[in-house]
């Protein structure tokens, strides 16, 4: 499969609409292991929109295609929220425009960019490439259903 050695491809989906997605808050954490009874209480309803989007003017939704961000928990077909107002920190997943092509990479303090897939060779960062950080990935929406 040729995609396995290349950067993810990105398709812009759109803005996050105004409004709210209200869910009743049942527990602050859902344990994947032994449940903690202390977490199990009902509080105020929560607005999913408020959790997912802190800066609506700067937040863009893109769909990811490809496998190069697998180890960062971002899979083929996932939807990511990207906030352009944030400055990337070491280890952040960023959308970058490389010679005009938008993809995702792990951002390193020294300005290096990396794939997140240990089965892939290192991403070849060409010296003369036009590279611009487009935004910082704040959330990844993954559908776990079979």
């Amino acid at each position: 499969m040729h995609l396995i050695h290349s950067s993810v491809r990105m398709d812009y989906l759109g803005p996050v609409a105004e409004g709210s997605i209200i869910l009743p808050r049942v527990a602050t954490t859902i344990c994947a292991g032994f449940p903690s009874p202390a977490d199990d209480w009902i509080e105020d309803d929560i607005d999913l929109q408020k959790i997912l989007v802190t800066n609506r003017a700067a937040t863009f939704m893109w769909r990811v295609q490809g496998h190069s961000m697998r180890d960062a928990g971002i899979f083929d077909g996932d939807v990511v929220l990207i906030d352009r107002s944030l400055s990337p920190k070491d280890g952040d997943v960023v959308a970058v425009s490389v010679n005009g092509e938008v993809s995702l990479k792990v951002f390193r303090r020294n300005g290096q960019l990396e794939f997140a897939n240990k089965d892939m060779p290192a991403w070849p960062m060409h010296e003369n490439a036009d590279i611009q950080v487009w935004g910082v990935v704040t959330y990844c929406l993954h559908i776990p259903r079979a």
Binding site: Y12, G14, P15, A57, A58, R84, S97, N99, V102, D130
Partner: protein, 194 residues
């Protein structure tokens, strides 16, 4: 009541529809880009590179097709859902900088800067411009003046004189007179008509 005399800013997206397309595809950044009206009738937005080729606003597509092909002009059908959404974002940023924002068109808004100290207006406009650029990717020009008409004139001056860094403040009377002597007023929409 404000301690300062009235002041408005007109902020305007540069080649707005084309700039919206460029946000998502940086390959468009240094090439001529135009956007066509509904049904691809005529040019309704042009980047500086397209203007330099002699493509005119409202020029019918069939008349410029050959020129566009020969010069690698990237041509887009209009995508008003995208332009409207980018316009909303830009105005959301404006509202962080000014309490009253009047949307004048999809890419132009008047901001009331009366409460901002005259000396800091240009600085605020530069800050706003760079925030809009970072957050939305849209390049803007800002004109400041004591009336909306003078803000429009200042915006025109900011657009035509890149050395101003996208901001022109005509609050100061001497500065205003200096520019008024230089500008062909009929070029500025809304003034030429008077």
């Amino acid at each position: 009541m404000s301690a300062f005399p009235r002041s408005y800013a007109l902020s305007d997206g540069n080649s707005f529809y084309c700039s919206c397309e460029r946000v998502f595809d940086h390959k468009l950044n240094h090439v001529p880009v135009i956007v066509l009206s509904n049904n691809d009738g005529c040019a309704i937005a042009r980047t500086a590179e397209a203007k330099a080729l002699g493509i005119k606003m409202g020029e019918p597509w069939f008349m410029m097709r050959d020129l566009c092909r020969a010069n690698g002009v990237r041509v887009f059908s209009s995508n008003y859902a995208l332009y409207g959404s980018m316009s909303n974002r830009v105005n959301e940023v404006y509202r962080l900088f000014a309490p009253r924002v009047e949307i004048y068109s999809i890419d132009e808004s008047f901001l009331d800067l009366t409460d901002v100290a005259p000396k800091t207006r240009a600085e605020l406009a530069r800050d706003m411009r760079s925030t809009v650029g970072r957050w939305t990717g849209i390049p803007t020009c800002v004109g400041i003046g004591p009336t909306k008409t003078l803000a429009k004139l200042a915006n025109h001056i900011a657009k035509k004189n890149p050395e101003l860094g996208g901001v022109c403040d005509l609050t100061d009377e001497a500065e205003r007179d200096r520019w008024m002597r230089k500008v062909k007023l009929e070029e500025v929409w809304g003034i030429g008509a008077l």
